[in-house]
Each structure stands twice: as structure tokens, then as C-alpha cells.
Symmetry: C2
Subunit: 131 residues, 2 copies
């Protein structure tokens, strides 16, 4: 089962500008900035005083995510739910929804797997198990 929303992924065209904007508007703290080549993004994790974080994502040139940005524009991209055991959840959910990742892969903060948005009313959901 999902324990909590770990973070909300937001697609942006320029990470540095977006970080400054969100810092200025909402007083968030930059926790880390990292390139995740496997997912085709440069990502920044922004934390609030408590709870779910914001993850700003700038696509790397030529990546799939660059195509997503071009097609859909900036904005909300996915939500990430923390689970205790991502393998177990994938196995349970595989009977209910279409999985993008049949096996977990390495993400910014643990092992992750994505569920197809068409199975979840248009919402791209990432499951994450902290390691």
C-alpha cells in the first residue's frame, strides 16, 4: 500500500529559473540537484517545511522527456507515492493496471517504477521505495 506522497514532479523548460521562482514564491529549500540520465532529466528536489516535496524536472536535450515538454508544455507531470516494497506492489498492481516498469529501476531517492497514466485517470504515478 502507498504510505504517503513523497513528491510531485513538475516539468519545466529551465531548471535554474524555475528553482529561483519557486524559492521566491514559496520559500522552498533546494535539497539536491542531480542529473538522472536514465530518466532523461536534470532534477531539483525542493522541500517545504514538512511533508511532500516538489521535484522540478528539466529534460536533457534529445531525451524522451524533451519530447514530452515540447508536446505538453510545462506543468504537473507525475506524483510519487512511497511504498515499503516496490516489487510487491508491482506484483499486486500488475493485475489491476498497466505498468510502464515491470521491474523497479534506480531513481533519485530509491528504487522506482512508473504506472501508466491511462490506468489511473490520466495521472502518471511513480512508486518509490527508499533505499
Amino acid at each position: 500500500m502507498a504510505k504517503r506522497v513523497d513528491h510531485i514532479g513538475i516539468l519545466v523548460s529551465n531548471l535554474d529559473e524555475a528553482i529561483k521562482l519557486y524559492e521566491d514564491c514559496f520559500d522552498v529549500q533546494v535539497e539536491k540537484v542531480e542529473t538522472i540520465s536514465e530518466q532523461g532529466v536534470k532534477a531539483a528536489i525542493l522541500s517545504l517545511a514538512q511533508g511532500a516535496k516538489l521535484e522540478l524536472l528539466e529534460p536533457l536535450p534529445g531525451s524522451n522527456m524533451a519530447g514530452v515538454l515540447e508536446k505538453r508544455g510545462e506543468g504537473l507531470h507525475h506524483i510519487t507515492l512511497e511504498v515499503d516494497d516496490v516489487d510487491k506492489e508491482l506484483s499486486r498492481l500488475s493485475r489491476r493496471v498497466e505498468l510502464i516498469d515491470k521491474k523497479p529501476r534506480h531513481g533519485l531517492e530509491g528504487m522506482v517504477a512508473f504506472i501508466h497514466p491511462k490506468s489511473l485517470r490520466g495521472v502518471l504515478v511513480e512508486l518509490c521505495q527508499k533505499i
Copy 2:
């Protein structure tokens, strides 16, 4: 300043079906279901074990939100950040971003105000002060 993500708004075409799906997939609990005529939606608040909640939103027939659903389809719609004083935040933010609501209005869980997504990299942000 924003304290935390209160909830994530998800636009759906059928609230009852969406509630069942999210209950089945993620073991969320339905906290309340209510019609918010002012916002043109029937809404369900779903809570996880901790932290930010999910808010499923089905547009009322003929509402502005029905038009949004038709145009954009189902999916992530907004994020709601809890603040201590929504009036004060609106005043501070009005110099930085375009506000949809210049004054707070009644929402499902307090006084709320929306910021225009074009000011925030495509993300519709709702500020909420609990009452």
C-alpha cells in the same frame, strides 16, 4: 510562506469510479465527498497513511470545469499549499505572480485562492488557510 502540500487535485470524469480505482490501487481512505458549487465540482478527499491527500474532482454539468475536462482530459489539475495567512500571502505574491483570486474564497477545507499557472511554469497552485 507555504508550510506543506495539503493536497493534489485530480480531474476525473466519474467520481465514483475514480474513488473505487484509487481505493483499490493505493489503499486510500475516503475522508469526505462534497459538492462545491462555487468551483463547479463534486470532490472527494482521499487520505493516505500520512501527509498530502488526493482530491478527486468531477466537474458539475455545464460548469467551467466541465470545459476544462473536455479540453484537457483527466489527470493532474492543481496542487494546494497550506499557508498560515492567505490574505498576507496574496498580498506578497501579487507583486510576483498573476493571481486568479485577488481575495480568498471558501473551499472544501478553508479559505482558498488560486494563482495563475502561467506565472508558475504551468502549475495551477491553490493556497489554503485552514479554518
